[in-house]
């Protein structure tokens, strides 16, 4: 295998992409590199709307056999429609629970833990079945929004692959057996004060579980508790130790920040508080009317993130250069102990950057990423202190692990490395692993799985894994204890700012699982206590010690109802002095070869969501890959390595195959980095730093379940303890093999007819109409205002002397009292997080189709997010760092809907409030509507995608929405089930005595995508209501319709994207 890590390869390749780009006929905004370069192959490709495989008849059945079978099935199946309706029974309650009205959902506040922090949620319960997760408006980390993980957690609850029974050495056992075994092991340990007892947890979000563990350690003083979180935040903590000499917790207040500098921090998409940060950050760049102020975001990053895509200025850097950059900026900001180094960095004039930050003293913010070394965090602390941001945009508090009742610090749990050390020595006799999957996620050089295997084999030992799934770790443990999902168990957790929330179960454990609280309870005193008592007792102690006024029951009920425990926010610490001794530490030495960046996967995180079909099929925000991860590298690096990634070269491969919605054939590369090499496909990512590769963790699971096993590639195998987030010295090698990826970035191309519109804020000041200037739009705002009689008289005027009407479409009347639903999406603030896509999937029972079907362009998402890159074609270097934009595309609900005309059975038609209704029970599957839709938002059930059979999945369906079967077209309905329900509720309220007007505005109505959106980018409402937010957005001058010149009169419109660049940053 020849190494391609040499420069000579470039010559063989001929012209690089930059050269082709100079002569490109492509466009300014593009989704994939092929589109940018243009060319005849691309045009040919576009013409084939459906993939090649469509025509392939791969079944061994001949045509004649097919006709015979079809004839017979038609003759027989045709009559099944003539049966009488089946008899059904109605099963009432024996005693109906209070407050429960059949047919009306209830909402309960709870909280979801992830990575040691919890987010407040409001979960919908239909007759006792949780069916949809929403954010809790009163919770500081949510503010009503959710992320993809929370949205998809409903599917995780009903996952049929969950561990359903206690097993011992793979054989089914009972909880009694397990409790007996645990108690036996404890009896042995009691004499030794627990010297052989070890507990391994993930990062624990729950203060009550922490207290329980501490009590356990008091009872067994020689026992130890270890914590391991694969996507942990050790660097953040170590950064505060460097900067302030003590463990502290840091969070940010973006609401006060005018200028933000991110040092490889993806604060909009990951980490604690990212929903809150997104809301605060986007609130400061929501341009409305004459309010023309925007904050400014500078991002330097070593990979591609959504935060980088939202930036006004973005600089891709190799990971080790981030520290150099931070030092240079800190030097210019006169942070003590640092000297001003380089004045320009990657084309940025650091004097201008520093000046911009200094001009906003106390209103600026420097954020360091969780994956950056501690010294970068210390540098960020230094800069924030120099800029006077401490206490304003940066809040430093006591550690979040500090005890809520007693206060003060508590001994930190041990690390995984310590545990492995002890396991090797042989002191560990009983190991209880609470949650997580350390065998899969542990660093490759830790040797955890070998050590665990040895202990499990030893006679007289006990290893047990409390887990949601029978996974890689369970396989090496003696006992599998099924864990409760967070929607099944009592617990609590603390948000990014310390606010505590009670985690309230929505449903009894489906498979008799137990929570960590209950298992630790058994360990502590051998008694089985329900988690409810344990958690409530903790909060009773808290109440008695810290609140002390009023009645505990009232306090408890208030906390459950609101979803937050009042008064638990961490208080800012002041009066800390910055140390400077770290500043002189030498930076990491430069290494040969590629730099490697490890990041959690954007949709399946550290691998724990690998068996969640919604998250697997969700296109990753930037790469638009589904069902796989890949080696991300930049176009220039790919060019240098001779990785052909454009169609039309070498016979069209690697590249796309199968037409507009086809699959992507990617070259497989071998990655060598501190251990056995891993082969994985390469994915060329515009904007990625050169000579660097990004590896997303979480794939390549061996025991994930039916959905997740065998998808993607396991990059944990390359991750070592000394380089958890990045490292240098990797080599890449071409293998000559190919791999099929299910990328959706080229699916549903609308051939770039001025779809994405964007401008700098300065340009907008002088050109308010830039988004629609020169566009031939048929409907003037004034026209839309006209009443129906006015329009009719206009029409009569126009058609005088002609016997034919001007339009095929009837002039529908939407004047009040009808509602006129519409949507506006602000492209300035959309961060592409994709929570809306999963929310839509959960609300509307949208099926998962699987990788093969995605490669045929058959993904069913009603709402897709198109990611566009923008380059200035006059600047060949621009491809290194294109600006990125996100455009969510739901159904446009056109007033003149092209889809409605061709339907032979009127299965899609206009409703009284202007929606394009889709009637599944009428649809015969001609697909003419999809053919006629210029926005490509209709989805067809080519096969039976919806799962009617799996019992547990049926519980999770939204009962207000039909579960579609094969052969039926479907599409976004603006969540019509919510509209109708809200309409009914408002109409009922209007009939109550004393209500003056029968027509009331519908205010509480939100579509699922709107409700989930942390950036508040999607706004839905009644356009007839002049005071509604959506109407105000549509009156903005930068409001534009997609393909509006086709006279489809879309109801969904967009506010053109604005960016706020610093005009002086790139001056010398």
């Amino acid at each position: 295998m020849p190494s391609v890590n040499t420069r000579t390869e470039t010559a063989r390749d001929g012209a690089g992409l930059a050269d082709r780009l100079r002569t490109a006929r492509g466009q300014q905004y593009w989704r994939c590199l092929e589109e940018l370069a243009g060319g005849p192959a691309f045009e040919e490709f576009l013409r084939r709307e459906y993939p090649d495989q469509e025509a392939e008849w791969s079944n061994p059945i001949t045509r004649r056999q097919f006709l015979v079978l079809m004839g017979a099935s038609l003759a027989l199946a045709g009559f099944t429609g003539c049966t009488r309706p089946p008899a059904e029974t109605i099963i009432p309650y024996i005693r109906q629970p209070e407050r429960l009205t059949p047919g009306r959902p209830l909402f309960f506040a709870t909280a979801m833990p992830l990575g040691g922090f919890s987010t407040g949620l409001l979960v919908r319960s239909n007759e006792g079945r949780p069916t949809k997760v929403e954010g809790n408006r009163d919770h500081p980390a949510s503010l009503g929004a959710t992320d993809v993980f929370a949205q998809a957690s409903i599917l995780g609850l009903y996952d049929p692959d969950r561990a359903q029974s206690v097993t011992r050495l793979g054989r089914i056992a009972t909880w009694e057996d397990a409790v007996h075994a645990l108690q036996g092991a404890l009896d042995q340990q009691r004499g030794k004060k627990g010297a052989g007892l070890r507990i391994l947890t993930e990062a624990v979000a729950s203060p009550s579980l922490r207290t329980q563990l501490r009590d356990l350690l008091r009872a067994y003083p020689a026992a130890r508790w270890h914590e391991y979180e694969p996507v942990g935040r050790e660097a953040v903590r170590e950064g505060t130790r460097l900067a302030y000499g003590t463990d502290l917790h840091v969070f940010y207040n973006f609401a006060e920040a005018d200028v933000v500098l991110s040092l490889d921090a993806d604060f909009l998409a990951s980490g604690p508080g990212h929903l809150r940060y997104t809301r605060e950050f986007t609130d400061r760049r929501r341009v409305r009317g004459d309010q023309l102020r925007m904050n400014r975001l500078y991002v330097v990053e070593s990979t591609v993130t959504q935060t980088g895509a939202a930036a006004d200025h973005r600089l891709p850097l190799r990971p080790r250069d981030v520290e150099r950059f931070a030092r240079a900026v800190a030097g210019r900001l006169s942070v003590a102990g640092l000297s001003p180094g380089e004045r320009t960095f990657g084309g940025w004039n650091l004097d201008e950057l520093a000046a911009d930050l200094r001009d906003h003293r106390g209103r600026s913010l420097v954020v360091a990423g969780d994956g950056q070394p501690a010294v970068v965090h210390a540098l960020a602390h230094g800069m924030n202190q120099a800029l006077g941001n401490l206490g304003r945009t940066v809040v430093v508090t006591d550690p979040i692990e500090a005890d809520l009742i007693e206060g003060g610090a508590e001994p930190a749990p041990g690390s995984l490395a310590d545990l492995v050390q002890e396991m090797r020595v042989g002191t560990v006799e009983a190991l209880l692993i609470l949650g997580g999957n350390p065998v899969y996620t542990a660093p490759a050089d830790a040797g955890f799985s070998d050590a665990l295997f040895q202990i499990s084999r030893k006679s007289g030992s006990l290893t047990a894994h409390l887990s949601l799934h029978d996974n890689e770790t369970t396989r090496l443990c003696q006992w599998l204890l099924p864990e409760t999902h967070y929607l099944e168990a009592w617990s609590d957790g603390r948000a990014y700012d310390g606010t505590a929330a009670i985690q309230q179960p929505l449903i009894a454990p489906l498979y008799g699982g137990r929570s960590a609280h209950e298992v630790v309870g058994i360990l502590t005193n051998g008694l089985e206590r329900p988690g409810h008592e344990i958690v409530k007792d903790y909060w009773r102690r808290y109440f008695e010690r810290r609140v002390r006024s009023g009645d505990f029951e009232a306090f408890w009920r208030r906390a459950l109802h609101d979803g937050v425990v009042a008064g638990t926010r961490l208080q800012p610490r002041t009066g800390m002095t910055l140390r400077t001794d770290w500043a002189s530490r030498p930076p990491a030495p430069a290494t040969e070869g590629f730099d490697v960046v490890f990041r959690p996967d954007p949709t399946i995180h550290d691998g724990r969501f690998a068996n969640n079909g919604w998250l697997q099929e969700l296109p990753k925000p930037l790469t638009k890959l589904t069902w796989d991860n890949a080696v991300l590298l930049s176009p220039a690096t790919a060019d240098r390595l001779g990785l052909h990634y454009e169609m039309g070269k070498d016979g069209g491969r690697p590249g796309w195959r199968g037409g507009e919605r086809g699959e992507v054939i990617a070259p497989v590369v071998r990655v060598h980095f501190r251990g056995p090499p891993v082969d994985a496909p390469a994915w060329v990512t515009p904007g990625h730093p050169d000579e660097t590769i990004t590896l997303h963790l979480g794939y390549g699971r061996e025991r994930a379940g039916h959905v997740g096993t065998g998808t993607g590639f396991n990059f944990y195998a390359l991750r070592t303890a000394d380089a958890p987030w990045s490292g240098g010295g990797a080599t890449l090698e071409r293998t000559g093999r190919e791999y099929t990826l299910a990328g959706t970035q080229q699916h549903y191309l609308m051939e770039n007819r001025n779809l994405m519109r964007a401008a700098p804020l300065e340009h907008y000041r002088s050109h308010r109409d830039f988004a629609t200037a020169g566009e031939h739009v048929h409907e003037h705002p004034a026209e839309a205002e006209k009443t129906i009689p006015e329009r009719q008289s206009d029409l009569q005027e126009q058609t005088k002397g002609s016997r034919l009407p001007l339009s095929l479409f009837p002039d529908y009347n939407y004047d009040p009292p009808q509602y006129r639903w519409g949507m506006a999406i602000d492209l300035t603030v959309c961060t592409g997080c994709s929570a809306c896509v999963v929310a839509c999937q959960a609300e509307n029972n949208i099926p998962v189709v699987g990788k093969t079907e995605v490669t045929r362009g058959r993904e069913m998402h009603w709402l897709r997010i198109d990611r566009y890159y923008e380059v200035d074609r006059r600047d060949p270097a621009a491809l290194r760092n294109p600006r990125a934009y996100f455009q969510p595309v739901p159904c446009m609900q056109c007033e003149n809907a092209p889809c409605e005309l061709p339907c032979p059975v009127e299965a899609t038609s206009h409703s009284h409030d202007g929606l394009n209704d889709m009637v599944y029970n009428r649809c015969v599957g001609t697909r003419y509507c999809s053919n006629n839709c210029p926005y490509k938002v209709r989805r067809f059930n080519f096969l039976q995608y919806a799962d009617y059979a799996t019992e547990s999945l049926r519980l999770g369906y939204n009962p207000d929405v039909t579960v579609r079967s094969r052969g039926v077209m479907e599409k976004c309905t603006y969540c019509v089930q919510r509209i109708r329900r809200a309409d009914i509720e408002v109409a009922k309220r209007a009939l109550e005595p004393g209500t003056p007007d029968l027509r009331q505005p519908v205010r509480e109505l939100q579509t699922a995508c709107q409700q989930a959106c942390p950036a508040h980018a999607i706004v839905f409402g009644d356009i007839n209501d002049r005071t509604s937010e959506v109407r105000k957005m549509k009156d903005e001058p930068r409001n534009y319709g997609l393909l509006a010149d086709l006279n489809t009169r879309p109801r969904t419109t967009y506010l053109a994207a604005l960016r706020n660049p610093n005009p002086r940053l790139e001056t010398a």
């Binding site: 059904e88 024996i94 038609s909 039909t962």
Partner: protein, 216 residues
Amino acid sequence: MPQIYHRAFNTISKVSIFGAVFIIAGLGWVAWVVARSSYVTNVDNARLQPVPFSHEHHVRGLGIDCRYCHTSVETSSFAGIPPTKTCMNCHSQIWVGSSMLEPVRESYRTGQPIPWQRVHRVADFVFFDHSIHVQKGFGCSTCHGRVDHMPLMWQRGTLLMEWCLECHRDPAQNVRPRDEVFNMEWEPPADQADKGRALVRAYGIRSLTSCSTCHR
């Protein structure tokens, strides 16, 4: 070459060719009639229930209001089927020894619900809401008929879409004053056309016939 077909085929082929129009029309008519027959729609088909509960006795005989059992009819899409507890409110005091009521007592004792046979079955893709119809002045008897005359429950309307649309296209023909909704004896007055129009205005009733009103 001998004759393959019998002579009668001359007539048969003539009749079938020239009669095709009528035969197809006839088949269509049969299909139309069968689809609307009570064999398919179940109209007037009294269902046997685990307990022979008589609406006639409880509604007409005892004068119990509809909402005593169907509690959520004014607030929810689902009118509600009474839990066993509701039956036992009275039947723990009266008819306590009746063998007919044994399934009710058994349900209360064992915690196993009574499996009532559904009488009005609307297709799964239809989302009907009781509360808005009741609130806007459409009485129980308009769709369910004289329940107070039904010893066992049967279905009065066909529940076909045309049956729904008949009223959705012209709600004035069936609307009644809101305080008459639960009155089983209410009959449209002679001037229902005028009165109905006035009520439609007063209650803000819209004639909703777009698909997503019921299909989602």
